[in-house]
Subunit: 426 residues, 2 copies
């Protein structure tokens, strides 16, 4: 079956799924939970094959760990499904209600987007999370997982499709896409796939964004900044910088460039160096930084690099303006923080910095759907439309306009025989 045929099936399934009520979808989620548990040996066996093949192919240890789907992963995804069941049905939520005229009522009502093309990495547990999120939100899904996990992914997709069908979900809403070439085909399916959500390396995400007319939700880079202002409290600045940089270096919300105000640099940079070097962070500084602390030189390319590693670039700036200009020039619009005791400066920073997450006196590492309390996280977006920053299930929703009339025609209004009331309805 071609990817196009697969997408057609997903579209048909999605349209039926969109019209299901919340109880049916919750029953399907419960069936999936039960089936995952009762068929766990089958899942573990498939995962064993993936692990064995990958071991022979010398897959790196961290990837082997991500690939593993064992009882503890199963428990995690089952807990995730239970919390999804507990959520209100997002479909049909009334966003706005207006009486246009007597007997002519307009409702803006939340509905699913349609078919989501999800491209994710080796973790098979992500497949379950994504698929169940799509089910709850009424979206069909084309799933492309890592080829390392293909046996596990097949069993999981199979279980989810069968179990959800048992509860009355339409066939076809969940589809697996397996090869790299098929991704290329996916990118051309405008009109069948409504939104692509890629997770993977920067260059991969960038490639997808450049090579598809389908809207893409995600982020390529995460070049995050902390600006330590002249009014910063050193006892907040040091832990915030250390946490932002080192709490987990390999992620998009980790700090990459520290901006520090000239007036506090001589006093604070030595303290920061001590704390960061204790965590094995390599520092690279601008010239002015290097006149204060003895570190490697940072070049132009450092400002535009997402290290994802124990490396931090440092630049001394003379003003808030200069800090903001640097962020706009080199940042990726992901997360930028200011450390200051001056509320006015903080508000100005947060007003002016054009970034999804603007933080005051806290670590950039808070930029995350779980920490934000969004429930399940669909991803993090640096787009400027639809959804921005950490995105929960509402990122999989759009709305339609439902207009209820009783024979109303426009001619009556354009001729002046009738007038619109445009009264908000409660």
């Amino acid at each position: 079956m071609s990817v196009r045929d697969t997408a057609v099936l997903a579209k048909e399934g999605a349209r039926k799924l969109a019209a299901l009520n919340g109880e049916t979808k919750n029953r399907a989620l419960e069936e999936i939970r039960l089936a995952l548990s009762s068929r766990r040996e089958e899942i573990f066996a498939a995962n064993g094959k993936d692990l064995e093949r990958s071991r022979k192919e010398n897959l790196a240890a961290p990837l082997m760990k991500r690939l593993t789907f064992d009882q503890s992963k199963l428990d995690e995804v089952m807990t995730g499904i239970a919390s999804l069941i507990a959520l209100d049905d997002p479909v049909g939520k009334r966003l706005k209600a207006t009486e246009l005229d007597r007997g002519l009522n307009l409702y803006q009502v939340a509905c699913p987007i349609g078919v989501i093309g999800m491209i994710f990495e080796s973790r098979p547990d992500a497949l379950v999370q994504i698929a169940t999120l799509c089910l709850k939100s009424g979206n069909g899904v084309l799933l492309k997982g890592g080829s390392e996990a293909k046996e596990t992914n097949r069993v999981l997709a199979d279980i989810i499709g069968e179990a959800s069908a048992k509860a009355g979900c339409p066939a076809g809403w969940i589809q697996l896409v397996e090869s790299r070439e098929e991704v290329q085909e996916m990118l051309g399916l405008d009109g069948l796939i409504d939104l692509i959500i890629p997770r993977g390396s920067n260059s991969f995400v960038q490639y997808i964004m450049k090579n598809s007319n389908i809207p893409v939700m995600g982020h390529a880079d995460g070049i995050c900044h902390v600006y330590v202002d002249e009014k910063a409290d050193p006892d907040k600045a040091v832990p915030i910088v250390v946490d932002s940089k080192t709490q987990y270096v390999a992620v998009c919300n980790a700090l990459e460039t520290l901006l520090i105000h000239r007036s506090v640099a001589p006093f604070l940079l030595p303290r920061l160096r001590e704390a960061l070097e204790a965590k094995q962070v390599e520092l690279r500084g601008c010239e002015e930084t290097r006149r204060i602390i003895d570190v490697k030189a940072a070049g132009e390319s450092d400002w535009e690099t997402e290290y994802l590693d124990y490396i931090l670039s440092i630049k001394v700036v003379g003003s808030l303006d200069e800090a903001i200009d640097h962020i706009h020039r080199y940042g990726s619009g992901h997360t930028d923080a200011i450390v200051t005791e001056d509320r006015g400066t903080a508000e100005e920073f947060m007003n002016r910095v054009d970034t999804a997450d603007v933080f005051w006196n806290c670590s950039t590492r808070f930029a995350d759907g779980f920490r934000f309390g969004l429930g399940a996280e669909v991803g993090i977006s640096t787009a400027k439309i639809h959804a921005r920053g950490p995105v929960g299930m509402e990122g999989l929703m759009i709305y339609k306009w439902r207009l209820y009339g009783d024979g109303h025609i426009v001619e009556d209004y354009s001729s002046g025989r009738k007038q619109f009331t445009h009264r908000p309805l409660s």
Copy 2:
């Protein structure tokens, strides 16, 4: 100056505009209103040149009319600006507030998208509407108007730029793009232009959608349907079909294909023919239609054509399912209506039809920002993300996440020393 340089200026201006308070923006709108009035002779003179040139170039009469910017058009745009001033500032509106932990508060706050690339047709009054909408919503704008209106557009853009600067708006937020070739350049400016809103012919909009990685908000086709159900009230069905088709034929929300249930077709089609032919509508029917009324034959291509003219295609269907399948196969996701006295059928239609506007017992012509009570209309979107159907000023908005802490770091939470509260704030 290249289009890229222009867009850089707009981006810089937009970032400053985004941080302005509502009073400053309203003062700027008031200055624009005053300047348009005091410099009206200059505007009319420029418009005179455009009209003269276009007359020599034999511009069609309807386009000449759209090109005209006279006192009555001036009055209209001035009224529009006054109503914009009366609206609340959309920037800074709090969409969500959550306490993540004591002293760590998260706010989701509305903010402008950034730089809008607006491509519109010959009407110079559209330039004023769009520019003032962008100003109120804090967005920079690159405006590409029709070349027929170039003299008028220049004067208007000039007035708006100068008058807004007088009130403290940043230079550069409004930029004019003049040639067709420059549109091509605009399409490649990802990262500088955040959203393109094209208005124009279907093929032009489609071209833009296919040839840019910048998100596009708009619609290419408007292939709208009315489905007359077996439980339709004939006294509602006939006026709704006539109004949907003929109230204004040259627009995207006009009816193009009538679907009618087999059980009412023999009785209703003759009545519909009489009413439609009285309005000079040419009918084209499927075979079954033609066994009931003597009309031209409709072929496959009719179902996928947006006539924008006094032509209507008609298809007899055997069920709601068949009607919905036809709409999903040939429709453009713009506006589709059902005529029925059965509320259950109506709800099923509105749940299942995957279209921006789903209407019950009223004309498709209601699909319009003004009629929906949205205030100024930015456009109509058939996209599946961000904004759908008639789009008001909220289509020019996105949000950012503002997190207020007091030295909070993530390590405290991942180590278990602290717990998130995730409590909604009022």
